[in-house]
Assembly symmetry: C2
Homo-oligomer: 269 residues x 2
């Protein structure tokens, strides 16, 4: 049970925009017991987007979630690229057409301004791969796209964070949760009084072995001034929240004890 994320947009690759969408999704997916195995960021080029989608599909993930490239401008190419990747015709999706029509009506009514009912640029957002269903967008105007290929559910969401987040929580996360069947993921971390990962490493190995790899322990070094600060994170997955939480606490305790033993027994590391 795993997910891949694809982030689409030149603005990400030029560095103009810091992508925070994929990190936000990773947190949400991890919290419900899911697992993100790969994130790929790609330019607004149909052949490249299609290549990334096909490549992800070859690993048979449960979900492929894309973000970006669903809007009305010429460089919004995700729907078209999906068609190329899946070898499906791009057709007018009636649900999408009605949704886009409704959204423009609502947005212009809010501002009490007239607008043509449907412009070619708006209709473009309703041109989707054959067989796709839509995910309604209550924030912006572009429909999300969902289409299943073998055992993989592909979901395309807009790149504007407020739109993506609302659609993800309402229409994507419940699907992932259903697949993880109440699995929980717990992660806790502490900062330790040791400043050298090479000295910590044998402790991490020892504690992971004690728990037969049911916990995963990772050290996160960072710099402050000219020094190195280390946080130790312990994480585990499981069905029973209390059990997983205790497992994580116990392992974290063991790491602490071993570090203190080392610090007490030797000169400060």
């Amino acid at each position: 049970m795993f997910t891949e994320i694809i982030v689409i947009g030149n603005e990400i690759l030029t560095g103009h925009t810091l992508d925070t969408n994929s990190n936000w999704m990773c947190k949400k997916i991890t919290a419900v017991g899911g697992e993100v195995r790969r994130i790929t960021k790609v330019r607004d080029e149909i052949s490249e987007i299609a290549d990334v989608i096909r490549n992800a599909l070859s690993r048979r993930p449960d979900f492929i979630i894309t973000t970006g490239g669903l809007g009305p401008t010429f460089d919004d190419k995700t729907a078209h690229a999906l068609g190329v990747a899946l070898n499906k015709k791009i057709v007018l999706n009636e649900d999408a057409f009605r949704m886009v029509q409704r959204r423009y009506r609502e947005l212009y009514e809010q501002r009490a301004v007239d607008t043509p009912d449907m412009l070619p640029e708006r209709k473009k957002m309703a041109m989707l791969p054959e067989g796709a269903t839509i995910i309604d967008n209550f924030v912006g105007t572009a429909p999300g796209i969902q289409i299943t290929v073998d055992d993989t559910v592909i979901i395309a969401l807009p790149g504007v964070p407020a739109e993506m987040k609302e659609m993800f929580e309402r229409a994507v996360l419940p699907q992932i949760q259903k697949k993880t069947e109440g699995l929980v993921f717990i992660s806790k971390e502490i900062e330790i009084d040791l400043h050298d990962e090479s000295v910590l490493a044998p402790i991490v190995d020892k504690v992971m072995q004690k728990y037969e790899n049911r916990v995963f322990i990772k050290s996160h070094p960072s710099t402050y001034g000219s020094g190195i600060k280390i946080k130790v994170e312990v994480r585990a997955r499981g069905k029973d929240k209390k059990e997983v939480s205790e497992l994580v606490d116990n392992a974290l305790n063991d790491v602490s004890k071993e570090v203190n033993k080392l610090l007490g027994g030797a000169s400060q590391q």
Copy 2:
């Protein structure tokens, strides 16, 4: 002339850590006229890291830059994965060994603490693919790795931002700059008084056509409250800084004029 970036680490995929390294590198590379075409983020699994490296190599980029996975702990697997990807033996690199030794000596001297000269975990950071050269690390302890395959220079940097940044600016950016031969990239943006990309899209098309695609124009919508705010970015690359700057200014001016014409001629969009 293009670059691919590979970000390595479970902490990125669980959402524990927001990767800002790749965005920082993208900005630096773009600023010297380079182009990043793909960013892939992958877990600490040798076979997956090797797969991502081989996949990137198949597109024959000028540079592949990885970040993360060079430290002393069991889950730091980048050097090993590079060996697998390139079918090269992992051997003790003498330069790396001396560098690691020197760095631990320096760091412990700073704190006036004794430490063994070389631990297995430290030696691990000097086990590199055959034929690799090292990039010195003046902030942390892990050597960077450089190795050339056909026309692609592969460079592996640590994931700790302070280490990565110092090494990138000193040892990587000059190599990229040499390849772009003084190409400049200029990007400017304005916020417009139009709140609908579907109305803006034909203007973008028109101005891009006027400049025969020598400028690239992208609209960046974002939400504020229940409204939509649009920034228009114009960017171009070229040899002559003044010329490129004028080109961008002119195109931006044309967009402004067209937007004002529309807003003057019709009800406010």
